[in-house]
């Protein structure tokens, strides 16, 4: 994986995806990817090869649901939406993450 600064921390991809969808919108994989890119201030670039398996895994776990619709380009496209279980999972993950982030900052900055 190397020192690519755009690389995201392992384990955080699920959190990023769920967070993107938290408002309840249905979004295509591409949209999710773009949202993470722009939302992170162009810091996180999610690879397609990682995004789609993650989306499918979340769907199998019941945190996302999917439906088929038509994209802007009039193609058959799959839209993902967060489920109630997904929201709950997201909340737990957020708490976890905040704790980790706080801890890291304290340690690294000595605050």
């Amino acid at each position: 994986m190397g020192n690519n600064p755009q690389e995201i921390l392992p384990g955080t991809l699920d959190l990023l995806i769920l967070n993107t969808l938290e408002s309840g919108i249905s979004a295509h994989g591409y949209t999710i990817m773009e949202t993470i890119w722009s939302g992170s201030g162009e810091l996180f670039r999610v690879e397609e090869g990682a995004l789609y398996p993650a989306l499918h895994r979340l769907q199998l776990q019941g945190y996302l649901e999917a439906e088929w619709g038509l994209s802007e380009a009039n193609r058959r496209a799959k839209y993902y939406k967060i489920t109630a279980a997904g929201r709950k999972h997201l909340k737990e993950k957020k708490t976890d993450w905040n704790r980790i982030a706080l801890g890291m900052r304290r340690m690294l900055e000595g605050a």
């Binding site: 591409y30 398996p53 199998l60 994209s71």
Partner: protein
């Protein structure tokens, strides 16, 4: 739960595998299109945008794969692939699949049908509380004058399970029992609801019956000791009916409690319904209704059911918990004398000792007990042995079929092994293929069994009241699993092992060595098949011959055009005094009907399964004879059945004093000749030890009574007037006309004599009865014949299959030899020889097998010995010629071919 949900989702996806691939493709395409648009918007040219977007995606195949694996675990996919692949292959090879399925279905179907009958009749525990605590009372060491009137097959009179009411009561005090219950049956009867008559088989039971058995009612309540009291409980006599009766009479009316059923003129109030699972304690012989035993005093006032000598009560006990069956059994056996002393009737000093030395024994009661099991049990076990042989033949046949196929696929498999498929993987593929076959065979077998079981029961008229159902209990389930595993192991594993035994494949530099091993394996399977077929065919041949001899036996009476009408006049509530008169009036009035040549009453028509024996004394040459058949009849019996009167005369309409008629063989035995017997006296003793004496007024020809295979028994005929009046008598008529016109004629006569009711239970012909009396033999013979023919067919196809395979293997050689001038007949003979060698080996093995088994069948044979040379010679000859023909067909087909073509092959 979560796990199953996921598994379900995954399996569903599996089904939609193609859909999933399409979805992944679409999703990716949509993504690429969006990305391309975005890049174009940023100002790149179309080609560059496309290249870049595709590049960014990385290796799409790889993420597609990883996504797919998420949805479908690899092993599941593998099995699924094997399954679909296997099914496709099997469907393509429909001839193979059809043959294999048919043999398996018949083999498994026959096994399932026979096993379900055995299970239902003999293995299944009664649906009661703790059936292992139950036991039946049996009396052994019977006195020589013992009367026995048992249902079913001719029973040895050394023991009986019927006891007197006195004895039942005397045993209530035994402390090794926590309860004892008796039940009694007086045969079929009719119950009346709102003017409609329904046939029923009721049991008269003691008040403790249901509580001893521990059965809970479906609706209402069961009897208590307050219901079984003389005079009946307040509110009238109660009745409990079976679930099927509730269905039949009341259409499952939930408000049935309190409804009244009439038995004769006696009202019975329905107080409860037994659950569907409980149909009495005699498997196969379902009880429709239960009535308190004491109600016999009103339903059959003429029957002395409470008296000693009327030993018609079957008793079931529940052994106290903590006491083992063995302990209880020993205790009761040791107290036999004390118990009998308690009920000692006033009797002659001489006979007291005999009475007191009777023994009481216990029989395990968990499966209930039924005369059906006694009558058919052995036949069913023999048939079970036969169907097991059939299953073995069918399974080995399947092995052979699969081997043929797998040998044909040897090269395919070798290539797969060579390019890296694991032996395990290929073995799994082969096992799955035979698994598909066997499971399909098993399912069709079960369907087939459900279809043939009722046919078997109807065809062999196992009695009107016999209902054996297929119960899918754990025993049945275990049996089917065993069959499944057995067949899969034999027919799946052997070929799979053989084909993928890599050591063997690598060792073989030439194919022929492998094939030789295959042919050896298959030849031994065929020898096994033939030997089993020999045993089955021989057994069937012996039985067919015996049955024919039995049917040719002279019975001593004429059965054609003899109608038997079972009439329950006593059950209409007619009092003891009027009963005899009613019977006499019926006989006299029916005699005058057009078409009736003669008519008589009889207690037990010949071969009806009921029998009675007696011990008699005379002042003749021989002073006493044991086990003389007693037959209770009225005048004209000999006319009806065409039995010749050899000396003296027939009974008068109303004998003025005690008289009897004896058979020719008894007269000769006792007095030297029929004429000498006339005017002599015969003494016998009642149960109470009272002596009775009757004058011989006639001697008639010998006639068989209950067993076609025995000689005609020595018989004493007595007039019904002199014996105890009976519950149900049978009207026997010689009548030329249709059954309908007969019934039309007798109906008004019967109504007049039974206070407006029609107590007809059933109408039969004596020919039917004769046929039915051989039902067990016919069942065994017919099924064994069918099974052995089936075995023969499979074995022959097996031989033909093996030869056609070897012929196929040696086509080149045959071609060369024919090109060099060998005649077709020479080649043909060579293959016939191979078949015949197998056949002879099989026959030798089969002969040894049959010799080992001959005792099993010996008791069923009549007029023939188990080693009859004619039968075995015929079997050997028939088998020999069938094998020659089966062996010739494949070889003949090859010799018809052009030798050049054979050479070019492969």
């Amino acid at each position: 739960m979560q796990f199953f949900k996921k598994l379900l989702l995954k399996v569903r996806t599996l089904r939609l595998q193609r859909q999933l691939d399409q979805d992944l493709h679409d999703e990716m395409a949509a993504h690429l299109a969006l990305k391309q648009q975005a890049l174009e918007r940023e100002g790149r040219n179309a080609d560059e945008a496309k290249r870049q977007s595709v590049h960014a995606f990385g290796n799409p195949a790889q993420w597609k794969e990883s996504t797919r694996e998420m949805w479908i675990p690899a092993w599941l996919e593998g099995i699924w692939k094997d399954l679909t692949f296997g099914t496709r292959l099997l469907l393509k090879d429909w001839l193979f699949t059809g043959t294999a399925l048919l043999t398996l279905a018949i083999g498994i179907g026959a096994n399932t049908a026979i096993f379900s009958m055995i299970n239902d009749l003999m293995l299944r525990a009664l649906p009661v509380k703790d059936p292992d605590q139950l036991a039946w009372i049996e009396i052994t060491n019977l006195p020589p004058w013992e009367n026995s009137g048992q249902q079913g097959k001719q029973a040895a009179t050394s023991s009986r399970m019927f006891i007197s009411h006195d004895l039942l009561q005397a045993m209530e005090k035994q402390d090794v029992f926590s309860g004892i219950a008796g039940h009694m049956s007086l045969g079929n009867t009719t119950l009346e609801n709102k003017g409609e008559l329904y046939q029923a088989f009721p049991r008269y039971v003691s008040g403790s019956y249901f509580s001893v058995l521990g059965v809970q009612p479906l609706i209402g309540r069961f009897f208590t000791s307050e219901d079984d009291i003389s005079g009946g409980p307040q509110g009238g006599w109660p009745i409990v009916i079976s679930e099927s009766m509730w269905n039949r009479i009341f259409q499952r009316d939930p408000n049935i409690l309190g409804s009244v059923l009439l038995k004769g003129s006696i009202p019975f109030t329905v107080i409860g319904i037994a659950p569907a699972s409980f149909t009495g304690t005699s498997p196969g012989h379902e009880t429709d209704a239960w009535i308190p035993m004491r109600a016999l005093e009103v339903t059959y006032p003429s029957v002395p059911w409470y008296r000693q000598g009327w030993d018609q009560c079957e008793a079931v006990v529940r052994i106290r918990s903590g006491v083992t069956f063995q302990q209880a059994s020993t205790r009761i056996l040791n107290s036999s004398r004390v118990i009998f002393e308690g009920i000692l009737p006033s009797m002659n000093e001489k006979y007291r000792e005999v009475f007191l030395s009777q023994k009481i024994q216990l029989k395990p009661g968990r499966s209930g007990h039924s005369w059906l099991a006694a009558a058919y049990g052995n036949s069913l076990w023999i048939l079970f042995g036969a169907v097991s042989a059939i299953l073995l033949i069918a399974a080995t046949n399947l092995t052979n079929l699969i081997l043929t196929r797998s040998i044909a696929r040897d090269r395919e498999i070798a290539v797969r092994l060579a390019i890296g498929a694991s032996a395990h993987r290929i073995r799994r593929q082969l096992m799955i293929e035979s698994g598909i076959l066997v499971i399909a065979g098993l399912l069709s077998g079960i369907v087939l069994a459900q279809w043939i079981t009722p046919i078997i029961q109807r065809k062999f008229s196992l009695g009107d009241w016999v209902h054996l159902n297929m119960h899918f209990d754990w025993r049945m389930f275990g049996f089917l699993s065993f069959v499944l595993i057995f067949v899969v192991l034999i027919s799946g594993w052997i070929p799979a092992w053989k084909t993928t035994n890599t050591k063997m494949i690598y060792r073989q530099t030439n194919e022929s060595q492998l094939n030789r091993f295959g042919i050896l394996l298959r030849s031994s399977l065929i020898v096994l098949q033939i030997s089993l077929t020999v045993a089955l065919l021989g057994g069937a041949g012996l039985l067919v011959y015996s049955l024919k001899s039995v049917f040719n036996e002279k019975t001593g009476f004429d059965a054609s055009l003899r109608y038997l009408i079972y009439i329950d006049v006593a059950g209409t509530g007619t009092s003891n005094e009027k009963l005899l008169l009613a019977h006499q009036n019926i006989q006299e009035n029916i005699r005058t009907l057009p078409g009736v040549q003669s008519v008589t009453w009889t207690k037990n028509p010949p071969f009806s399964g009921m029998q009675q024996t007696d011990h008699i004394y005379t002042r003749g040459r021989i002073s006493e004879v044991a086990n003389v058949f007693t037959h209770e009849i009225t005048n004209d019996y000999f006319n009806v059945f065409g039995i010749p009167l050899l000396a003296g005369q027939d009974f008068p309409q109303k004998p003025s004093h005690a008289v009897c008629i004896i058979s020719d063989n008894l007269a000769r035995h006792l007095f030297g000749s029929p004429q000498a017997a006339i005017g002599e006296k015969i003494q016998s003793r009642t149960q109470q030890g009272k002596e009775t004496s009757a004058e011989i007024i006639g001697v008639v020809g010998n006639a068989k009574y209950s067993n076609m295979k025995d000689n005609a028994p020595q018989t004493v005929y007595r007039h019904i007037i002199e014996t105890q009046p009976q519950a149900t008598l049978t009207l026997a008529l010689r009548f030329s006309g249709s059954q309908d016109s007969l019934l039309k004629g007798i109906t008004p006569i019967l109504r007049r004599e039974s206070s407006g009711r029609l107590p007809i239970l059933k109408v039969r012909t004596e020919e039917e009865i004769l046929h039915q009396s051989l039902a067990s033999d016919r069942l065994l013979t017919t099924l064994l014949t069918a099974f052995s023919l089936f075995a023969l067919i499979i074995s022959l196809t097996g031989i033909a299959g093996l030869l056609s395979y070897t012929v196929q293997q040696r086509r080149r050689e045959i071609g060369i030899r024919m090109a060099l001038g060998a005649t077709p007949s020479l080649i043909l003979r060579q293959f016939q020889n191979f078949g015949v060698q197998l056949g002879i080996a099989g026959m030798i093995l089969g002969g040894m097998l049959s010799y080992g088994l001959h005792r099993v069948i010996e008791s069923y044979l009549y007029g023939i010995k188990p080693n009859d040379p004619l039968i075995w010679g015929c079997v050997a000859l028939a088998l020999f010629f069938s094998i020659v023909v089966a062996a010739s067909v494949p070889a003949w087909r090859v010799t018809r071919n052009d030798p050049l073509q054979s050479l070019r092959a492969d």
